[in-house]
Amino acid sequence: MNTHTETTRQASRPDTPGPAHQDGLIMRDVTMLLGDGEDTVRALDSVHLTVAAGEFAAIVGPSGSGKSSLLAVAGGLAAPDSGTVTIAGRPMTAASRRARTALRRDLVGFVFQSGNLLPALTAIDQLRLPTRFASPGAVGRDPMDLLTEVGMAGKADRRPHQLSGGERQRVGIARALVTGPRLLLVDEPTAALDQARSRDIVQMLARETRQHAVATVMVTHDTEVLQYCDSVYEMMDGALSKK
């Protein structure tokens, strides 16, 4: 574990300007149109968003308002029509598809709605897989340490179908962190969980965010868990505003 960088990053709070912002996510005037012809939807409409390293930001909003689109653009899964995205100072939007894949690999971790684990892999192998295609020289984290951290060490050899929804989500979080990302993008992590487990998972995300000085953006429907977040934004018809 890298305690040195942790403490330095932890010191910087979201609203304090400084190098921490450079370490996190910056989205400037991002617009993305989806669909074609008459059915074109302004999925993102001049979105500005800054999330510093160690900051846990939440995005709420009705279904279809563009939350997933925001995560897709932030993580380089999709290219916006205009605007810029930088992660840890590296421009995402200027990059080619191949370069975006590489940046994603090095800088971004994704946590999906219900874990989205690979059915053929055991919990520990879910974490080992990303390290197989990590860029040379990348400093990842030890898969077993991470599983221990999310309380899944005892079930390292189980496959997804042998795990509960909450356990799958823990493994999903550990998988997202194994490459040591600077940005963690989380899409409705508690959609399939009951209240107690939802709280567990979000608390865990908050803890990991601070402990590893990651910039975390979580999309959620669950207002219960917003108390654990540093900042809350609302998405409405593609436009983002701070709550």
Partner: protein, 372 residues
Amino acid sequence: MFLAVRELRFARARFTLMGAVITLIAVLMVLLSGLSHGLVRDGVSGLQELPVTSLAFSHGVARDAAFTRSVISLDTVESWSRQPGVTQAAPFGSALINARSSSGVEIDLALFGVEPGSFLAPKAATGSPLGTADGIVVSRTAADAGLRLGDTVTVDRLGTRLTVVGVLAEQHTFGHVDVAYLPLAAWQAIHAGAGPGEPVPDRARQEITAVAVRGTGVDLAAGDAAAGTESMTLSESYGASPGYTAETSTLTLIQFFLYLICALVAGAFFTVWTIQRKHELAVLRALGAPIGYLLRDGLAQAMVLLLAAATVGIGAGIGLGSLVGEGVPFALDVQAVTVAAALLVGLGLTGAAVAIARIAAVDPATALGGNR
């Protein structure tokens, strides 16, 4: 391979089923290859064993019946031996006869008349070479069928008696009939229809079936023009063996379809497999897996499946082949089976590759929002 092997293990029922299909195709392929090679051996091994590069038949002879229909003059041998590049030229006669051995075995023979001492004269493994007027040297397969050294063979209708003086080491068959070499003079008498003691017309002494030519860089067209003949290279002459073209083309067609089926089956399987995994692949792409990594992993998986299935199938096919009875023309040829196996795996892999290439088109953005 990290993901590939784990998936193979996890979805082993599906992969085993698919592997079983490829295995059966491989078994069929080995059996067909053996049958094909066996038929070729049965049809033209007598020609394959000839130390010649081309044969000159009479001009305008029907290509598929040249060995029985062609008649040319002995003089043409002279003409051919003078052609540039020709190192050897010798008269060759062929005829198909029915006969009966002294031990009562009915036997069909392909008579190859050659001049004893010429380059065409065969080397008997047991017994003696061609020499005596009525001595024949027969294929090993004739000995397998019961013909012994010293046996007398009587040609039906003519009553000509021939004596087995030598047996060849290899199979020499022509049109599924055992070859018996005999002196050209004896062949000419039988070909002219002269029975024992009957005079052989002078004309018949001038007749042969073809000129057997051995050489390098021989201009066949020029030789034909000079000698008034029509040449076929040795391998072209296989087509003139009875039934050869029909048999081989049928088997080639079946084998072609087998390869096609293998490619399509592998393609169909990996198409379904890739589509089933589309969401997983999108997740992997979102996690930063390069397209190349996923393609290599998918191809490695297909390769493991195809190689394992082909190996089992070939083993089973060889095992089954060894059980094939004596009467069936079945002969496994290492080279033929190797080539067939490589084609099978190669085409299967091609089919799989086309399916696996879809990975490149998977949109990583679909990893988000998909509920599973």
